[in-house]
């Protein structure tokens, strides 16, 4: 240790510089923008490269002149200061030349922008809704409708388990699209502003409550493409990823059929009664993926921000009021209306769970029929 403390500052600096170089060499990913897999992503990439090189060229000229001057026009070399301080010709030249360069950049940029904003003639439309903190996808013609939430285990986030390669970029239900088709997204939000972004698809658009934005993409290669919410949306902004899986048409069709079957099964659930044990088991799952982010897994909430459900006024009060609050949310707070997000059986299960978990032990059961009646 004593040898280390004797290090002189320049040596430390050299060490740090070496460390940075080693870090760059060790990085497995590029330093540059990703070229992407759609036509608009590739167009953005080539524009990015064009402007980058223009900047590099201007930088070489300007910094070249600056460093030449710094090296040669210094007093210690006996330089005597000239006294010129203006030149109309030069000043006009360096106003006009940059202007012409800018026009050269604006032309391809305008073309690219017009192409990107053209959402007409799409083959498939998916409505995307941002929630704190998950995404909902509704396939408008196919009738498929599901939520997509982060599937990374808490153990990995809190460093109790090794992080998998898709850490924070994995979801329970990815968006599936067919390759070779123009997919249009109609993007909105339910609570606060989010932004839908998958870098390889080349575009991001804000998801704004009360407004519908549009964007499109056209993927040629089957594969899995990952992205994240890109607009600060509160506590778990960093934990609402997006996964798009592009499949061949036939596989996509099978996927749609499977999704519809699952939806039928869920609908059947709302017409039958459950036992307390079934509701508690199902409710715990629903709670973990929808409620625990704010109210915490132990039901104790976060003082001042998110109320405790353990021994809470609502959770230990009348069941009908409890159910109504979960279904309709609470205006002016982060408490969302879950009536549109969860089906009857899930709502019944989560309310039952909240009334009986963490020692609340109300002993009462809310059945899907009650939820159906409350809608």
């Amino acid at each position: 240790m004593s040898a280390r403390t004797n290090l002189r500052v320049p040596q430390v600096l050299t060490g740090l510089a070496l460390l940075s170089v080693a870090g760059i060499a060790a990085a497995e990913y590029g330093l540059n923008l990703r070229p992407g897999v759609t036509t608009i992503a590739q167009e953005a990439y080539s524009l990015h490269m064009l402007i980058l090189w223009v900047c590099v060229a201007i930088g070489i000229v300007v910094f070249g002149a600056m460093f030449y001057s710094i090296l040669n026009h210094r007093k210690s070399k006996g330089a005597v200061a000239a006294q010129f301080h203006e030149s109309t010709a030069v000043e006009i030249a360096w106003t006009i030349i940059p202007f012409l360069i800018l026009i050269g950049m604006a032309i391809p940029a305008t073309k690219a922008l017009i192409a990107m904003e053209d959402t007409s003639n799409s083959d498939l439309t998916i409505k995307v809704t941002g929630y704190q903190w998950k995404w909902q996808y509704e396939y408008l013609n196919e009738g498929v409708n599901f939520f997509s939430t982060l599937s990374t285990p808490k153990e990995e986030i809190f460093n109790r388990a090794d992080k998998n390669p898709d850490y924070l970029l994995e979801v329970d239900n990815p968006v599936v699209v067919p390759v070779g088709k123009k997919v249009r997204l109609s993007i909105t939000a339910n609570d606060v502003i989010h932004a839908w972004w998958v870098p390889d698809l080349g575009m991001k658009k804000d998801a704004i409550p009360g407004f519908i934005n549009e964007m499109w993409f056209n993927i040629d290669t089957p594969g899995t493409y990952r992205g994240q919410c890109a607009e600060l949306c509160g506590k778990d902004h960093g934990f609402m990823p997006i996964v798009v899986v592009a499949k061949e048409q036939a596989e996509y069709d099978t996927w749609v059929a499977d999704q519809l079957k699952m939806a039928d099964a869920a609908a059947a659930d709302s017409n039958r009664d459950f036992t307390m044990a079934e509701l508690m088991a199902r409710g715990e799952k629903v709670y973990t993926s929808n409620c625990a982010a704010c109210h915490q897994a132990n039901g104790e909430g976060v003082p001042g921000a998110f109320p405790a459900l353990k021994g809470g006024v609502i959770t230990t009060g009348p069941a009908a009021e409890h159910l109504a609050l979960v279904m309709n949310g609470k205006a002016g707070t982060a408490m969302a209306a879950f009536a549109g997000q969860l089906n009857d059986a899930d709502l019944a299960a989560v309310v039952t769970y909240e009334r009986n978990a963490w020692g609340n032990n109300k002993g009462d059961v809310v059945q899907p029929a009650a939820v159906k009646a409350a809608r």
Binding site: L47, G59, H73, H85, A195, P209, A305
Partner: protein, 524 residues
């Protein structure tokens, strides 16, 4: 009244003790207060940046919860912008504008006192929100609704502290305008004013134009939250995007409020150490005015992804690209000022050169961000974070440090330690690049900003960036040490201080008397 008779009313020195600072109407005292306050806030905001970089040092959540992380990014921005950079510029304006123009003081000295003393209260209130139920503001310094309306008890306190900061800025700006237009020494025509004064005159007009806009926007947030209005709520017939338009109508000129005085400082320093007059003085003035004018027409480039009509996107893209022209003129003028000069490289010059080099890098990434079809990829990523830290840290803050080293001998009468100053510059410059340059790569690779945790592909560059951040933060303690030890003593400075310095402030003794230019000098 007996004391008034005891000595000449035009020749009294400062009051003694604390009351000197509380009741002072002297531009030099108020300038000092602003500058010291700014230094303090620089370290408070810097400490928050250290929390951010510590959490981002490794993937996973280690030190803070996501809500507190968001509070740190929000408060870091508010404190650095409104508490560190803006007060530093107002402090420089207070100290320098009267002695550069040959005026005895600022035009409105009592208002000057008030505009400073609002600030400690505003920032105490802002910082106190950290201890309130629900924590401090966590919706980002841009305060976008509906998210910001989810803030807990802190919300009204944040809004009122912004009102107070705005009040202080507007009063400071009015004072600068009135002083410059009315108190110049005979013969000091507008086109003879030092460039620092020119840039501040234009900045002051920007402040007067846009601070009320910010005040209006945040007041609408307040009524949306507490009084049932729906300015920004779609459910009530309002429009959340309208807030963004109003905010950035303030926000983009604000960006130039943070950089135009920096242009002025650098334009004072480079000619001094190149021993050669500033190249293109009048084009510098016109370029500054053009930048200020254009700054009102480009706001929506901060919001290319909100879903504007194509024509709107094209307009804001073209207008934004246009700003590169006057900005380029400035950089070319600085390089031409160096050209065929006789340069020496004392600490102020090093910081000014660092400014020209790294601000230009920030300018290049700014040009890239202006291109709407590619901005869809850059927007809200670390590429943007890298961009605005290059223009604000190695831009605005480097210029402030250059100015501090340049005028410190004049203000205190003592020379700072040149060796330590150079160490401060070189360490800062190495570490600031280790800190911010890799953030370009992170953004291009797809890392969004304002996230407390990231996927493992971003690990290496975050490690490097955090190490650079800690080292840069520590290096700034050296700056505080140099400033404090120069105030306390050191080699005596001459009146001229720098061989090549020109301007009225260098004709005064170092340090200048408490009241200077009580008789106006005559400018040929």
């Amino acid at each position: 009244m007996s004391t008034a008779a005891a000595h000449d009313a035009h020749d009294h020195g400062p009051a003694s003790g604390l009351s000197r600072w509380i009741f002072t109407t002297n531009h030099k005292d108020i300038g000092t207060l602003y500058l010291l306050f700014s230094l303090l806030m620089f370290f408070v905001g810097g400490a928050m940046a250290m929390v951010i970089r510590a959490e981002l040092f490794q993937p996973g959540l280690q030190f803070v919860n996501p809500m507190f992380f968001n509070t740190m990014t929000t408060m870091h921005a508010l404190i650095m912008i409104f508490g560190a950079v803006m007060p530093a510029f107002v402090g420089l304006a207070n100290w320098l504008i009267p002695i550069m123009l040959g005026a005895p003081d600022m035009a409105l000295p009592r208002m000057n006192n008030w505009s400073f003393w609002i600030l400690p209260f505003a920032f105490t209130m802002l910082l106190s929100t950290l201890f309130m139920d629900g924590g401090g503001p966590a919706g980002g310094w841009t305060l976008y609704p509906p998210l910001v309306l989810q803030t807990g008890d802190a919300f009204p306190f944040v809004i009122f502290s912004i009102h107070m900061m705005g009040l202080s800025s507007i009063m400071g700006a009015i004072n600068v305008v009135v002083t410059i237009l009315n108190m110049r020494a005979p013969g000091m025509t507008l086109m003879k004013m030092p460039l620092f004064v020119w840039t501040w005159l234009i900045t002051a007009y920007l402040l007067i134009a846009v601070m009320p806009v910010l005040a209006g926007a945040v007041t609408m947030l307040l009524t949306d939250k507490f009084f049932g209005t729906s300015f920004f709520s779609a459910a009530g017939g309002g429009d959340p995007v309208m807030f963004q338009h109003i905010f950035w109508f303030f926000g983009h000129p604000e960006v130039y409020i943070l950089i135009l005085p920096a242009f002025g400082i650098v334009s004072q320093i480079i000619p001094t150490f190149a021993r050669k007059p500033l190249f293109g003085y009048s084009s510098m003035v016109y370029a500054t005015a053009s930048i200020a004018f254009l700054s009102f027409l480009v706001w929506a480039h901060h919001m290319f992804t909100v879903g504007m009509p194509l024509a709107g996107e094209l307009f804001f893209m073209y207008a934004t690209m246009l700003i590169a022209v006057p900005t380029g003129v400035k950089v070319f003028n600085w390089v031409s000022t160096m050209w065929k000069g006789s340069m020496t490289f004392e600490t102020p010059m090093l910081f000014a050169l660092g400014f020209v080099f790294m601000f230009t890098i920030g300018g290049f990434s700014g040009l890239m961000l202006a291109i709407a079809p590619v901005d869809f990829q850059y927007h809200d990523t670390y590429f943007v974070v890298a961009h605005f830290h290059y223009v604000l840290v190695t831009g605005a803050i480097y210029a402030i440090m250059a100015g501090a080293y340049y005028w410190l001998p004049k203000w205190t009468g003592n020379m700072y330690n040149e060796t330590l100053g150079k160490w401060h510059f070189w360490l800062s410059t190495i570490f600031v690049n280790v800190l911010f340059f890799p953030q370009h790569f992170l953004g291009l690779a797809g890392m969004p900003r304002r996230i407390p945790d990231y996927s493992i592909q971003f690990t290496e560059f975050n490690v490097i960036s955090s190490l650079g951040g800690f080292a840069f933060g520590l290096t700034q303690l050296l700056f505080a040490y140099i400033v404090i030890s120069t105030i306390r003593g050191g080699k005596k400075a001459t009146d001229q201080v720098w061989e090549g310095a020109e301007g009225l402030e260098w004709t005064l003794p170092s340090p200048p008397p408490y009241h200077s230019f009580t008789t106006a000098p005559v400018i040929k």
